[in-house]
C-alpha cells in the first residue's frame, strides 16, 4: 500500500517537472488576499485574473492561483507558505500586516520567488511594493477640499481604523495640506473604522455638534454614509465633502448635484502589480532609482481623481456594471515597461 503512494508521488513529481520544463514562457503567480470584507477586494482579484489572461495574446501563459479568505497575519503567512511549497514563480499580496511577513518573504526570495505587495506597503526588503501612495491619495482630495472652500472655513475629518498603517499615512497627508491653509480650521477628527453605517452616525453627531460647518474630509465608503447624513440634515448645498468611487455613490452624487471630489485607489492595483511581475519574470531589470517610499521599495502608481468636472465621464464608464463597481485603472504591460531598463 505504502509503495503505491510512493510511486504515485514520484510520478506526480516527475510529471510536474516535465510540465514546468517543457515551456519556458509559462509563469505561475500566486495572488494572496487576507480580507474579504468588501467588493473592492473581489474586483481587485478579478481584474488581476483578467490581466493574467490577457498575457496569452502576447504569447506568454500566466497561470494564477488565488488564496482569498478572512485571515489574520499568521493565516496569511500560511497562504504564502502554500505558494512557496507549490513552487510559484511570483507572489502578489495585499498584506494584512506591514511587518509580520519579513521572515517568510526572505524565505521566498531565497528560493528565487518574486514577491510584490500591492495596496498595503510592507517593510520587507525582499519584496517590492506596486500600488498607490496613500499619503498622496489623501493630499489630492484634501487639496481639492481646501481649494473648493477657497482656503477658508470649518471642516471635520472622518478616518478609518486608528493605528492601521494606511490610515496613519492618509491622516499625515491631509494634515500636511490643511496646515498650508491658515484659515481652514479642522474642528474635529473622528474614527469610523471604514464602515459606512458608522460614517453616517459619526457625521450626524458632528453636524449636531458643529452647526457652522463648511467642509468634510472623509475616506472611502464612509463618504457615502457621511453624505447620507448631510442630505438628511438638508445641508447638501452648504457643505463640500470628499466622496468615493463606487457606482452607487457616484449616481447619487450626480442626481443630487453634490459638491464632491474623490481620489481613486483603483482596484486595478493588483493587475498593475501582475504586469510588473510578468515583465520581471521575463528577465528584465528595474531601472536604477525607481524605488521610493518609506521603506525604499515602492513603485507608486498614478492616482486618478473624480470631481464634478469628470463625473459624467466616469459614470458612463460604469454603465452596465453592478452598483458596487469601483472606478478603476491599471497600468498596461507597455506602461509597466517604463519601470524597466
Amino acid at each position: 500500500m505504502q509503495s503505491k503512494w510512493f510511486i504515485a508521488a514520484v510520478t506526480a513529481t516527475a510529471l510536474g517537472t516535465v510540465a514546468t520544463g517543457a515551456c519556458a514562457d509559462t509563469f505561475k503567480i500566486g495572488l494572496s488576499n487576507g480580507w474579504v470584507g468588501s467588493e473592492w477586494r473581489t474586483q481587485m482579484i478579478e481584474e488581476a485574473q483578467a490581466a493574467a489572461a490577457a498575457w496569452a495574446d502576447e504569447g506568454t501563459t500566466v497561470e494564477v492561483v488565488v488564496q482569498s479568505a478572512n485571515v489574520d497575519a499568521q493565516g496569511q503567512i500560511g497562504q504564502v507558505r502554500n505558494f512557496i511549497n507549490q513552487g510559484v514563480d511570483a507572489i502578489i499580496i495585499n498584506a494584512n500586516s506591514p511587518t509580520a511577513f519579513s521572515p517568510i518573504f526572505a524565505q521566498a526570495a531565497a528560493r528565487g520567488i518574486l514577491v510584490i505587495a500591492t495596496d498595503a506597503e510592507v517593510s520587507s526588503q525582499d519584496a517590492i511594493y506596486v500600488g498607490i501612495d496613500h499619503k498622496e491619495w489623501a493630499m489630492q482630495s484634501a487639496k481639492w477640499l481646501a481649494e473648493t472652500l477657497e482656503g477658508k472655513g470649518n471642516i471635520v475629518a472622518i478616518n478609518g481604523v486608528a493605528g492601521h498603517p494606511a490610515n496613519e499615512m492618509r491622516v499625515a497627508g491631509y494634515r500636511e495640506v490643511f496646515a498650508e491653509y491658515p484659515d481652514i480650521h479642522v474642528l474635529n477628527e473622528a474614527n469610523a473604522n471604514w464602515d459606512q453605517a458608522q460614517g453616517q452616525q459619526v457625521m450626524q453627531n458632528l453636524l449636531a455638534t458643529y452647526p457652522d460647518l463648511q467642509g468634510v474630509w472623509v475616506q472611502d465608503g464612509m463618504a457615502a454614509g457621511a453624505w447620507r447624513a448631510i442630505m438628511a440634515a438638508e445641508k447638501k448645498d452648504d457643505i463640500a465633502a470628499t466622496g468615493e468611487i463606487r457606482k452607487d455613490f457616484m449616481t447619487v452624487w450626480s442626481e443630487e448635484n453634490l459638491t464632491s471630489g474623490a481620489s481613486v485607489n483603483p482596484p486595478g492595483v493588483m493587475a498593475s502589480a501582475l504586469n510588473v511581475a510578468v515583465l520581471k519574470l521575463q528577465g528584465r531589470e528595474f531601472k536604477d532609482d525607481i524605488f521610493t517610499g518609506t521603506y525604499g521599495n515602492a513603485i507608486y502608481l498614478p492616482i486618478p481623481f473624480v470631481s464634478n468636472e469628470n463625473l459624467a465621464e466616469k459614470l458612463s464608464e460604469a454603465e452596465g456594471k453592478p452598483g458596487y463597481w469601483s472606478v478603476t485603472a491599471a497600468i498596461s504591460p507597455e506602461e509597466a515597461a517604463a519601470f524597466f531598463k
Binding site: 503512494w5 504515485a8 508521488a9 506526480a12 513529481t13 510536474g16 474579504v36 482579484i45 488565488v66 488564496q67 482569498s68 479568505a69 478572512n70 485571515v71 489574520d72 497575519a73 499568521q74 493565516g75 503567512i77 500560511g78 507558505r81 502554500n82 512557496i84 511549497n85 507549490q86 513552487g87 500586516s97 506591514p98 511587518t99 509580520a100 511577513f101 519579513s102 521572515p103 517568510i104 524565505q107 486608528a162 493605528g163 492601521h164 498603517p165 496613519e168
Partner: protein, 314 residues
C-alpha cells in the same frame, strides 16, 4: 460488548483516522508534500494552534471554556517584542523578553481563574470580557504593528537545533508534557471537576485551585504560541492571533474532548489542531476555486465535528 469497545476506544481515534486520510490525500494532490522542507513549513503554520489547543483542553476538561487565548497571545507577543527591543538584541534580552511574555500570560490566566473560580462568574462571558481587555492592553503597549526582534531569535525558530527543526522540538516537548500530565493525578481531578462538580467537591477536591490552575495552563500555552508567532513573524502586531480562540475550541472538540467537560485529553487536541490545518491545505491544493474554499472548509469541519458526536452517541 459494545460498551466494552467504547471503553477501550480512545476519544482521539476518530481524529487520528481522519488525519491519516487527509495526509494521504494531501500527499496525492500536492507534489513534494513529504519533502522535509515542506513538512517543516506546514508544522510551522500549524504549531501555534496546536499549543493553544493543548492549553484549552485542560480548561474544557474542568467544564470551563477560555475565549481569551487569542488576546493573551497578542498581548504576550507585543510585551515580548517590546522588552526585547528595549533591552537591545543580546541573548539576555531575548531571555528577558520571553520570560516577561510568559509572566504576563500567567497573570492573564490567574485573572481569568480568580474571576471564574473564586468570584463564580460565568466562564464564557468572563473570558470574552477579559479578552477585550487583553486586546486593548496589547494596542496600548504597541499601537501600531512594528518593532523587530533580534535575528538570533527568529532564525533559531525557523532553523534547527541538533539537526532537528526547532518547531519539531517544540511539538515533541509539548507532546511529552501532555503525556506526563495525563499520568498525574491532576488530570483525573480536572475530569472529576468537569464531569461531576458536586461529587468532586464532596470528595474533598480543592475545586477553586484546580480550576485556577487550568486557566493558568491555558494562558501559558497561549503565551508559548505567541512566542512561536513572534518567531515566525519577527515583529510585534497587536492584532495577531485573533483566530486562535475559536480555532482552539474546534480543535479540542475535533480531538474527542467533550465540550461539557470531564471526558477527553490533550493528545486528541494536538491531532484536532493538525487536522484543522490539514483541511485548509488539502482544499487549497485540490484546486478548488477560491470563492468556495472557505465554504468547503466550514462544511468539512462541521462534518468532522458532527461525525465525532454521532459516533460517541452509539
Amino acid at each position: 460488548m459494545r460498551a466494552l469497545l467504547k471503553m477501550e476506544r480512545p476519544a482521539w481515534l476518530l481524529a487520528a483516522a481522519a488525519l491519516v486520510v487527509l495526509v494521504v490525500i494531501n500527499g496525492l494532490v500536492q507534489k513534494g508534500f513529504f519533502a522535509p522542507m515542506v513538512l517543516q513549513s506546514n508544522l510551522t503554520t500549524f504549531l501555534p494552534l496546536v499549543l493553544v489547543a493543548i492549553g484549552q483542553t485542560y480548561v474544557i476538561l474542568a467544564g470551563d471554556i477560555d475565549l481569551s487565548v487569542g488576546a493573551v497571545a497578542a498581548l504576550v507577543n507585543v510585551i515580548t517584542v517590546s522588552v526585547m527591543a528595549a533591552l537591545g538584541g543580546s541573548a539576555g534580552a531575548i531571555a528577558a523578553g520571553m520570560a516577561a511574555g510568559i509572566l504576563v500570560a500567567v497573570a492573564c490566566g490567574l485573572l481569568n481563574g480568580l474571576l471564574i473560580a473564586v468570584l463564580r462568574l460565568q466562564p464564557m462571558v468572563t473570558t470574552f470580557g477579559t479578552g477585550i481587555i487583553f486586546s486593548a492592553l496589547a494596542l496600548w503597549v504597541l499601537p501600531q504593528a512594528g518593532l523587530v526582534v533580534p535575528d538570533a531569535y527568529w532564525s533559531t525558530y525557523g532553523g534547527a537545533i541538533l539537526d532537528v527543526p526547532t518547531v519539531l522540538w517544540i511539538l515533541l516537548l509539548a507532546g511529552l508534557f501532555v503525556f506526563v500530565l495525563a499520568r498525574l493525578p491532576f488530570q483525573s481531578w480536572l475530569k472529576a471537576v468537569g464531569g461531576n462538580r458536586s461529587g468532586a467537591f464532596q470528595s474533598g477536591l480543592p475545586l477553586t485551585g484546580i480550576r485556577i490552575k487550568a486557566f493558568v495552563l491555558s494562558a501559558i500555552f497561549a503565551g508559548l504560541a505567541a512566542l512561536c508567532l513572534t518567531g515566525e513573524t519577527a515583529t510585534g502586531d497587536p492584532l495577531m492571533g485573533q483566530s486562535l480562540g475559536m480555532g482552539s475550541i474546534s480543535a479540542v472538540a475535533l480531538g474527542g474532548t467533550l465540550l461539557s467537560g470531564g471526558v477527553g485529553g490533550a493528545m486528541g487536541s494536538i491531532l484536532g489542531a493538525l487536522l484543522l490545518g490539514m483541511i485548509g491545505n488539502v482544499i487549497y491544493f485540490a484546486g478548488l476555486p477560491y470563492e468556495y474554499q472557505t465554504l468547503v472548509q466550514g462544511l468539512i469541519v462541521l462534518a468532522a465535528l458532527a461525525g465525532g458526536v454521532v459516533l460517541a452517541r452509539r
